[in-house]
């Protein structure tokens, strides 16, 4: 069954989500850089608790799509509806508050801060503490900080990282840094989380653990996951809907099985991959 279908025929989102509107929709999204069209005509629909994948060869424009979804780049064309509300003209920070969180291809942690503080920064908009309380350390400061700490530790514990809470984020091993980025994104209480190559640089056992974690994120938090990944076995096993990009355009959409058999995909992506192996 197709989880991600072209708009406007839309509508087919995971069965468990059918009675709700999709968390994220894009209509004919495109962006030009200096007259050059980098990405064009991207239309996606992602259900509330769907795990979907964005794949494609290097340079296909996958990260650019993420950057448009989070308004790091303002799209030249098309619309993005997050939980039914358009995100045009919003800042990255405002879009995050509307319910979209992300990780980065090249890890972007606050590397001089502790692991706990990284998560607390993620909790920023969940903490009720105004400037006055911040400066005086009174008027609700203690309560707010205690709650933030509890929540941060809870989230870290979810990825069995609670024992690293006081370590400096930059000193963590690579895999833990990737996990911390996910925790920090989850701390913002999003409706959908975008993961940019979460398995990059991981060994098979770490990748297996990551897959398990992504499923747990969906099941526990009840949110949607959209990921960019080059590890085909991860994508095929994990994702319910897949969108394939090549040269900035969607060349296929559908379930893993459909994607595997799509001749255009095989030519653009999997074919090469098979030859390489």
């Amino acid at each position: 069954m197709t989880k991600m279908v072209p708009v406007p025929s839309r509508g087919i989102i995971p069965e468990r989500d059918v009675d709700k509107r999709p968390i994220l929709e894009t209509h004919h999204l495109g962006i030009d850089f200096g007259g050059l069209t980098a990405v064009d005509d991207i239309s996606l629909t992602i259900g509330r608790t769907e795990i979907s994948g964005l794949i494609g060869p290097n340079g296909a424009g996958k990260t650019t799509v993420f950057n448009m979804l989070t308004n790091v780049y303002q799209p030249t064309r098309g619309t993005i509806l997050l939980d039914g509300k358009p995100t045009a003209g919003k800042t990255t920070a405002q879009v995050n508050r509307m319910g979209i969180a992300r990780t980065f291809q090249n890890i972007r942690l606050f590397s001089n801060m502790s692991v706990l503080d990284n998560v607390k920064v993620g909790l920023h908009n969940e903490i009720k503490e105004n400037l006055f309380a911040s400066v005086t350390h009174a008027f609700g400061y203690v309560k707010a900080e205690r709650k933030a700490r509890e929540r941060a530790l809870e989230l870290l514990d979810f990825f069995s990282m609670a024992d690293m809470a006081d370590a400096e984020a930059g000193s963590l091993p690579y895999g833990a840094q990737r996990r911390l980025e996910i925790v920090r994104a989850l701390a913002t209480n999003p409706g959908i989380i975008l993961l940019d190559e979460p398995a990059a640089g991981m060994n098979p056992s770490e990748t297996a653990e990551l897959m398990e974690n992504i499923r747990r994120i969906r099941d526990t938090f009840g949110i949607a996951v959209l990921l960019i990944e080059h590890d085909m076995s991860l994508v095929m096993n994990l994702c319910e809907g897949i969108c394939v990009l090549d040269h900035g355009k969607v060349i296929a959409k559908g379930s893993p099985d459909e994607i595997k058999q799509n001749p255009a995909v095989i030519e653009a992506y999997l074919g090469k991959k098979k030859e390489a192996e």
Partner: protein, 359 residues
């Protein structure tokens, strides 16, 4: 000592910072009261307090927020002259000196904060070196404007002119700011104790801020702006918060400074002063508040100590500055230090192991 080390890092910083200031006060205050300090030394007490506040507040912008500001003395200037005007104008209304000082410092802080807001809103959109150049330009503009400013007070209130004293049109009034001469006829009401109180206040604000939701947001912007935005932190809001807090504190320091002298000219707060404060911050360590306090005290005293070498002192100061920067920052020096450190550690470890064997 072990117990101290087991404390949280933020608590440790707070204990050391407040501790240093209180101990310094406990030692210097009796000495000053019993007239045991040389005149030169006693005269330096309030300026040192002022520069400590300046360094801590600049550290908030440069070290914690990570934006280079080359115009911090500009905010000090705004505070100094607004404070001087307030104090002179209120001489009859508030006869009690400490209260008048307090009011002057608060007014100085408020106006410097407004200046910070006006500069900050447009400027904080710029990045890196451009922000530095605009803060530099702002500092020069303030200095230039105050150089042409004439303010006087009479029964009818304040009179302001950009031309000369005559155009103030006062009746038996008192001139407060006299163009290039700056603020004149200031009643010297700043005291060492008030300087210490202002430092403690600054520490309270800055240390609390650093260890809070707001402070984390500011540090996050410094560490990785894009990631901070991606978790919903409004960059402009927190940059402005840090920048304005820093300006307010600088303005307060300026007011305290002005009230320590009978006259203060605008050229006292020029580019070189901004640079001097930046040097204190960088040598004390970026984001390191205790470091700022220590570096300011030592570096402020060095030229005084070198006074015997009179002509050579600033030259020596320059050489020391370059050597310190080379030693603390060059790749080779870093390698050298690491080796020494390793060597010491290994010896310590060997000794410990031998100790165990001997047992």
């Amino acid at each position: 000592m072990l117990k101290f080390k087991s404390l949280k890092k933020t608590t440790r910083t707070a204990v050391t910072s407040y501790g240093i200031i209180l101990v310094a006060f406990a030692i210097m205050f009796p000495l000053q009261q019993f007239g045991l300090l040389s005149n030169a030394m006693a005269g330096q007490l309030v300026p040192i307090c002022t520069y400590i506040v300046m360094a801590i507040s600049l550290n908030l912008t440069v070290g914690v927020l990570g934006e280079l500001s080359l115009g911090h003395a500009g905010f000090m200037s705004v505070g100094a002259f607004c404070g001087a005007i307030t104090s002179s104008a209120l001489q009859e209304v508030i006869p009690a000196a400490p209260l008048r000082l307090l009011v002057a410092i608060i007014i100085g802080g408020i106006f410097a904060g407004i200046a910070g807001l006006l500069v900050g809103i447009p400027v904080l959109r710029l990045r890196g070196d451009y922000l530095a150049i605009v803060t530099l330009a702002f500092g020069e503009i303030i200095r230039n404007i105050i150089n042409c400013l004439y303010v006087g007070v009479d029964k009818r209130g304040l009179h302001i002119s950009m031309k000369d004293i005559a155009s103030l049109g006062m009746e038996n009034g008192r001139v407060i700011i006299n163009g290039p001469q700056g603020a004149v006829g200031i009643t010297r009401i700043s005291t060492f104790a008030s300087g210490i109180v202002l430092i403690l206040f600054t520490l309270f604000i800055v240390l609390n801020l650093m260890n809070s939701r707001t402070g984390r947001a500011i540090t996050a912007i410094r560490d990785n702006r894009i990631a901070a935005e991606s978790v919903g932190i409004s960059i402009t809001k927190y940059k402005l918060t840090a920048f304005i807090t820093s300006s307010v504190l600088a303005g307060m320091a300026g007011a305290l400074y002005a009230m320590n002298f009978s006259t203060v000219a605008a050229k006292k707060f020029d580019f070189n002063t901004s640079i001097l404060i930046l040097v204190f911050v960088v040598l004390g360590g970026m984001g390191n508040i205790t470091g700022s306090i220590i570096a300011t005290t030592i570096l402020y005293m060095v030229p005084e100590i070198l006074r015997e070498f009179s002509d050579y002192r600033m030259l020596i100061y320059a050489i020391v500055l370059i050597l310190v920067m080379l030693f603390t920052n060059s790749a080779k020096a870093k390698l050298f230090r690491e080796r020494v450190f390793d060597f010491v550690l290994r010896r310590k470890k060997n000794e410990e192991e031998e100790g165990v064997k001997n047992d």
